[in-house]
Symmetry: D2
Subunit: 344 residues, 4 copies
């Protein structure tokens, strides 16, 4: 059994991670820390875990050595304490934004302040198995992924890998997100009467996850526009891309099919009939799947490429567990079998 501990277990990502690890056949959860909920049962914060565990939140100062340490702290905290954490476990997965970028300069540009441990940036592998599977098998330090970045990266990956994009043209990625993305702490805009049924374009340009998309796709003219919608879990990325002259529907089918075939959690959704013809986050709640699809406008060579995920699963805790499986030589899908629900 792999002994795993979670630092920062009272947030949404930490809670989802805990749910996955508690049910994982090869993992034993050793400790879960939370300063604000110290001593409380984890099921008081994560009520779905009632009758599943008697774990209580403990003080991060009491952390014991373990096989793998998951950091699920608010962004900016892990980088200051990374030296301490790596001493506790041979393998570490940090789900915050602290170690996602390989370049200290890019970090400074997008996050607005210098990185506190820049020498650690290159030791981390970006934790998206669809793009870094082989590196992850031998990685000791793995970063999490931005949920919006993941939806964008997976919408673009088939096109990027097949070299179909006209890279000098702008790539516009419209991203629709649910409320859990904002984390477990409320703010005036997350108060239910104000947040309910919004279609709120809260970031037209400059969202920080853009940096991860630039890094992982190599595209330089890519913009993310973010809109909150009525949804708790879920991200839909709709990427508008100019493809190279002569690219046909057949080329696109080939590229998307190949990507879906090579990755256990990628599904190509492109149906002519029925209700569910395109990727939708609705049916992915609790699931680690990323559903992808596309449409080509033959006249203009524009492609709409779509990816739907659950932001807390494929966009956070699910990908982290998938990375852990790879790091420990386990079946990649272990503990991630829940397929999602219909209807929901």
């Amino acid at each position: 059994m792999i002994r795993a501990s979670i630092v920062g277990g009272s947030g949404y990502t930490g809670g989802e991670l805990l749910r996955l690890l508690l049910d994982h056949p090869e993992v034993e959860v050793a400790q879960v820390t939370s300063r604000s909920h110290l001593g409380e049962y984890v099921y008081q914060t994560h009520p779905n875990l009632r009758k599943r565990t008697q774990l209580q939140f403990c003080d991060p100062q009491t952390l014991q050595p373990c096989d793998v340490l998951f950091l699920a702290l608010p962004h900016g905290q892990a980088q200051g304490e990374i030296e301490r954490y790596v001493k506790l476990a041979e393998r570490l997965i940090d789900l915050s934004a602290d170690f996602r970028l390989r370049s200290a300069e890019a970090y400074r540009q997008w996050y607005g302040h210098p990185h506190a441990a820049p020498q650690w940036l290159e030791r981390f592998v970006y934790g998206l198995p669809e793009l870094h599977r082989e590196e992850l098998r031998t990685a000791r330090y793995v970063s999490g992924v931005g949920c919006n970045a993941t939806a964008a990266n997976l919408a673009l990956a088939p096109l990027v890998r097949a070299g179909l994009i006209e890279v000098e043209q702008p790539v516009i990625v419209e991203i629709k997100v649910g409320s859990s993305e904002g984390g477990a702490e409320g703010n005036p805009g997350s108060h239910h009467p104000e947040r309910s049924h919004v279609v709120r374009t809260f970031s037209a340009f400059g969202h920080r996850h853009t940096a991860e998309v630039i890094q992982e796709t190599g595209l330089t003219h890519v913009k993310l526009t973010m809109t909150s919608v009525e949804l708790v879990r879920g991200v839909l990325a709709t990427a508008h891309v100019q493809v190279k002259s002569g690219v046909s529907n057949k080329d696109l089918w080939r590229a998307y099919r190949a990507f879906a075939n090579e990755n256990p959690f990628i599904r190509l959704v492109k149906e002519q009939r029925g209700i569910y013809r395109v990727p939708e986050p609705k049916i992915l709640v609790g699931s680690n799947y990323a559903d992808i699809g596309f449409e080509l406008d033959e006249d203009s060579g524009q492609v709409v490429s779509i990816c739907a995920i659950d932001n807390l699963m494929k966009g956070a805790a699910g990908s982290a567990v998938q990375c852990m499986n790879l790091m420990f030589g386990l079946e990649e899908t272990l503990g991630l079998e829940f397929p999602g629900l219909h209807p929901i």
Copy 2:
């Protein structure tokens, strides 16, 4: 023109009141106070009022005399300052819970502390025109109504007035409410991911609005059970009542029809066909109507009596404006004509 001012205009009730008064043909809004939003345009807080008014929130200390003063303060504040406010206007309507009960003893029992101005309690009229129309025409001081109490009182009123209830039997009123009832200030439970799609029975017994139902119906064995549902605006009260032996469907029709006929904002909804057969808060958003309906179980003599309202309208600001109309000898429905929307 009636010059009206609002104390506490940044909350939901204050904002709704402001919307109604700005469009009221006989009212000029003089001042709107808010300590926390001092100097800001009211449309920054109530974005529906953009381009409708250039009013800015002012300091309550700068209040000038006016014809009618509306108090929309958090519960407990008005009672301590009532002497000051009544000097500013000949007529005053307090929308908080402070002056709803006629008995200082009942206030202490339900609110857990002594009333700060008990001598004022008897000078106020309970601001529900359907129960106190004639008194309101000559009233100087009028209290607002509890939104849940209003749904319960109007569900029970036809039965009470016609003397049909077996008063020794318990009356159970199940009330389903939306999130705006909790006010504009957020709390951990109102954070969208936690509040979304709840069916949360947050008060099984002892809700404070019970006191208003006891006072206004004269029933002593009445209990309110409160459940939050996914809704921003709206209250549905479903009252379970034992009627006297021999009470027939015809008796009930007569009682409910009479009540609807005598009151411009009461509608009887009891259809055999179509989608909207019973009272529903969904179609009352923004409207001052209270829709009522009933069902009799002839074998047991049990009646289910239903009332739906918009908590911010008939349950708060709408009833207050209706009271103002009566106090000033205006048409009761003036400025309250918006019928609600379909679909919504």
Copy 3:
């Protein structure tokens, strides 16, 4: 491996059953029938199952013998064909309403027509393990459960078993339900603009599931009132009960704790702090848990007893799989481990 087949697999209950059986470690799904979707892949109807199975819907006439046959047909169909189905499998679980009542007379009274196979009624065991665990271990024919009946029965079970109810007084059960309860076929009232955000008391008296509550609790003065709310999955039953004179909070704690301790899927939720203090269907989506709780009004001896479930799981497919586990001598919880999600 147990070979299982599903008759009527394109509905919501059939789809949920299929999801559970596909992931069940001891089951192999042999056939799934659907006349209306004949030949289509099951994932075209149940999009969550894409990449999980290549099963196609087959004609019910092609059904082969198997170890257990699940019937998930519209109500009224199984009773006419039961003789045919029992020849195909030694064990049969019918999820419709056809074999839930033990009395042909009760069936005629509540369903308005005579039962087509009354001699079969007594051969079936009512498929709620919390009430019939021992019988189920040896049963060959098991009925499903009504979802609303299940929420009501489990809300009342601790009180009934402990003999705490004043049975001559009316028991009023207010039930709030989601839209999936109506099944996969749309109707004018389920059109999204009309169904969205309803609080619609569609049945004040006489809901058919009442018959199952009377049968299983032995209470005769029990009424169900049904209200649709904005929710896809979930039922909350709030039962209003008069308890016997002298019944204390301690007695209630004892009764509810015992019931939760004896049943792996029953959880007692009664917290003083936090957001989730009472049972709520929100966190049960996809889970087989039934969360129960209570509140006592000591003055009046009234109790509010609450039960929350997912109507498609504990209220349908989940309980059916739990029954199957018992019938085959498996661990009762096998294949039903998904705990639900937070947030959702």
Copy 4:
């Protein structure tokens, strides 16, 4: 008083129109037709109108002459009967798609069949007062507007009028829509459990409203991508535009301010603080406002331009009444004063 009749009053657009006309101070509603609801009270279909009118749906064959006739029929019907309708009233407003395009060739291209009355196309004025105010003052025949086209056209109008767009670059308009857009007739995809909480990109390219955007903006490289979200009423258009080299934030402010100042129902929303900083359909429910806003990325010269409307108001019935006001020389805003609600 203007005598107005509505043909096709049982749909959502017809119902909204009826609500507006019933409350319009200068209008008397003469007749409302519906074949499918013949003889029923209009409030049985539009329950918000209960106690507001005793009108019953009548047969279209019984239509009497009136001052203005509104056609709210399903697309494709008006063109075949236009000769009959124009004989009944001197002024006619058709809310369907039949007379929106000025070119019979464009109609054939986008609607896939030849127009049945092409000679009538040039007699109609496109019913968006913000673009055709002066023509509307003297128009006898006015078309309605596509709701999505309206959101796109008003998002682009300030840029088009000021000549700021680099017209050779693609213009991508991402449009998010609510469920009422699909009309009052249900379909499998509008069944609540399937439609609830979708983020469903149902049209990547080729939506018919594109034709109206091309016609009204003069842009040729414009694409609309349509995504359904959880919402009953509301459209948000987010347009991605390349502006000409050298266009500054100040230029944009000037263009948007001018457009808002010249049009009573256009509001510029661009706040640095508060919850409502950008246009949102949420607060426009029932209102005729179109809220617009923008953001410039100075490095790339890309602009995100946003417009929010209520599809049944500014996107349909509201604009139609605004046109009627202009056609009859009335105040443009008459009967359209409802500002929308907060919270909602």
